[in-house]
C-alpha cells in the first residue's frame, strides 16, 4: 500500500505492507534510526514519536495509520545546527547516560513544553511516566526538561556560573 507521511516537515512516500509497524517504516524504509526499538511491547517508550504533535509509541501503530499525517522524530528536533532547547538542556544537565531512551524522553519533553511551558517537577514526572530509563534514575532528565522550560521562557539562570569579579581591594 502506498502511503505519504510528512516526517520532520518533509513529505515522504513509501510502499509498505499493512503489517509494517510505524517504527520499522521510520527506521528501515525512511532511514531514520534515531527512533529506537526497546521492549517492542509498548511498555518502554524508546520508540516514541510525535504524531501531529502528540507523543505515541511507534511500535504499537501501523505505518499505514500514519498515511497523510505529520510525524516528528528526534532527527526533527534541531533546526540545522541549532539544538532544540530540550536537546541543549539534556546536554547541559547530563540528562542521559547510554542514550537509548533519550530520543523518546526528549520528544515527550518537547511536546510537554508546547502544552505546558513551565511544568512543575510533578508535571514532568507524569509526562515521562511512559518512558523508561535504566541509567539516570530520572533526576537529570527531569532537571533537563525543566531547564529547557526556563531557557525557552528566557528566565534561565546561566547554566555555567560566570566567575565572580574579584572584590576590589581597598586600602
Amino acid at each position: 500500500m502506498e502511503i505519504t507521511v510528512t516526517v520532520n516537515g518533509v513529505e515522504r512516500t513509501a510502499d509498505v505492507e499493512p503489517r509494517m509497524l510505524l517504527v520499522h517504516l521510520l527506521r528501515e524504509e525512511l532511514g531514520l534510526t534515531g527512533t529506537h526499538i526497546g521492549c517492542d511491547t509498548s511498555g518502554c517508550g524508546a520508540c516514541t514519536v510525535l504524531l501531529d504533535g502528540t507523543p505515541v509509541k511507534s511500535c504499537t501503530m501501523f505505518g499505514v495509520q500514519a498515511d497523510g499525517r505529520s510525524l516528528t522524530t528526534v532527527e526533527g528536533l534541531a533546526s540545522g545546527a541549532e539544538l532544540h532547547p530540550v536537546q541543549a538542556a539534556f546536554k547541559e544537565e547530563h540528562g542521559l547516560q547510554c542514550g537509548f531512551c533519550t530520543p523518546g524522553m526528549m520528544l515527550v519533553g518537547a511536546a510537554l513544553l508546547e502544552d505546558n511551558p513551565m511544568p512543575t517537577e510533578d508535571d514532568v514526572r507524569v509526562a515521562i511516566s511512559g518512558n523508561i530509563c535504566r541509567c539516570t534514575g530520572y533526576m537529570n532528565i527531569v532537571k533537563a526538561i525543566q531547564a529547557a522550560a526556563r531557557a525557552r521562557a528566557g528566565t534561565a539562570e546561566p547554566l555555567v556560573a560566570e566567575p565572580a569579579a574579584p572584590e576590589p581591594v581597598t586600602a
Partner: protein
C-alpha cells in the same frame, strides 16, 4: 515483532465500517487505538485477516451530555476523557480513572470503545461504567441495539458483540445533583495491570444513599459489579459503618487469584479497604452538578 499478514481497510464513514464488518464478519477486527489489539497481533494471540481502521470515522469521537444522557463515542481517547471539562466537573469516577489508565502515551491512542470491547478484566473503564450503570450501543449494517454493560461483558476477552457489529457509543445516565465517585487503583508501577481496582459511584438523596455503584477490576474473570454491597447501601444512611459493611460484602463477592501481584487474601483486603475509602470519599466530595 511482526503480526501475521492482514488486509487493511480504512473506513471513511461509519456506514463503510459496518458494511466491511458485514462482509468479513469473524475474519475482521476493528482497529481503534490499537493499544491492546496490536500487541496481541504481534504476539500472534490474534491474527485477523482483515483490519477495519475506524480512526478517521467522523463523529465517532463525540463526547456530550444530551437529554439526560452522557454519550461517549467509542473513539474517545483516554487522554480526552482525562482532560474534558465536562467529565472533570460532573463525572468524578471517570475523571479519576482516566489518568490512571496505562501511561500517557498509551492514553493518547487508546479509546474507551476499545478498552470495553477488549473485555480484559484488568481494564479500568469497564469497572467505571459498571459502577455508573452505563449501557453500550452496538450497531451493524442492519440496525442498532442497546445493552447494559453488565450484559455486554460475557467472559474474559468475550463480549456480546456479534461479528458484524461494532460498539459505537457508551451511554451513561447523566450525573444527578449530589453525586460523587472515584476510582482507586493499586498498581506496582505505571503501565502495569491493576493489582486491584475499585470504581465507586454514589448518589445522595435527602441525606440517604440513592444509588450506590461498586465495581471491581482485576479480581475476577470479568470486571465485576459488587451487587450485594450495592443493594445493602441503597436507601441506607451513608455512615462509615455502612461503608465498612459494603467493603466486606464486595471483598467476599470477588474471586481474586494469587499471582505475582499479590495473594488472593491480600487482594481481598485491598478491595475491602478501597471500597470503604472510595465510598467515604464519594460521600464527602459530592459534585455540585
Amino acid at each position: 515483532m511482526l503480526p501475521s499478514r492482514f488486509e487493511y481497510h480504512r473506513a471513511g464513514t461509519l456506514d463503510e465500517a459496518l458494511s466491511l464488518l458485514g462482509t468479513y464478519g469473524d475474519d475482521a477486527k476493528v482497529l481503534a487505538g490499537g493499544q491492546s489489539l496490536i500487541p496481541m497481533m504481534k504476539l500472534r494471540f490474534a491474527y485477523p485477516e482483515h483490519l477495519v481502521d475506524v480512526n478517521r470515522v467522523p463523529g465517532l469521537d463525540d463526547l456530550e451530555e444530551r437529554d439526560g444522557v452522557l454519550r461517549i463515542g467509542a473513539l474517545v481517547r483516554h487522554a480526552t476523557l482525562a482532560s474534558s471539562e465536562l467529565i472533570r466537573s460532573r463525572y468524578p469516577t471517570i475523571a479519576t480513572a482516566a489518568p490512571q489508565i496505562a501511561d500517557p502515551l498509551v492514553r493518547n491512542m487508546g479509546t474507551i470503545g476499545g478498552s470495553i470491547a477488549h473485555a480484559d478484566p484488568a481494564g479500568d473503564l469497564a469497572s467505571v461504567m459498571l459502577s455508573l450503570g452505563a449501557s453500550v450501543v452496538l450497531r451493524s449494517a442492519s440496525g442498532s441495539r442497546e445493552m447494559p454493560i453488565r450484559e455486554f461483558l460475557v467472559d474474559t476477552f468475550t463480549t456480546a458483540v456479534e461479528p458484524d457489529e461494532m460498539l459505537t457509543e457508551i451511554l451513561v445516565p447523566a450525573a444527578e445533583l449530589r453525586s460523587g465517585g472515584t476510582y482507586l487503583k493499586l498498581e506496582r508501577k505505571v503501565g502495569d495491570w491493576a493489582t486491584v481496582g475499585v470504581a465507586v459511584s454514589l448518589t445522595l438523596r435527602n441525606g440517604s444513599i440513592g444509588r450506590a455503584g461498586i465495581a471491581l477490576t482485576g479480581v475476577d474473570l470479568t470486571n465485576v459489579q459488587a451487587t450485594e454491597a450495592e443493594s445493602a447501601l441503597a436507601g441506607a444512611e451513608p455512615t462509615d459503618e455502612a461503608f465498612a459493611d459494603a467493603g466486606r460484602l464486595a471483598a467476599a463477592a470477588a474471586h481474586p487469584v494469587s499471582d505475582v501481584r499479590g495473594s488472593a487474601e491480600y487482594k481481598r483486603n485491598v478491595i475491602e479497604v478501597y471500597v470503604r475509602r472510595g465510598l467515604a470519599h464519594a460521600r464527602d466530595t459530592p459534585s455540585a452538578a
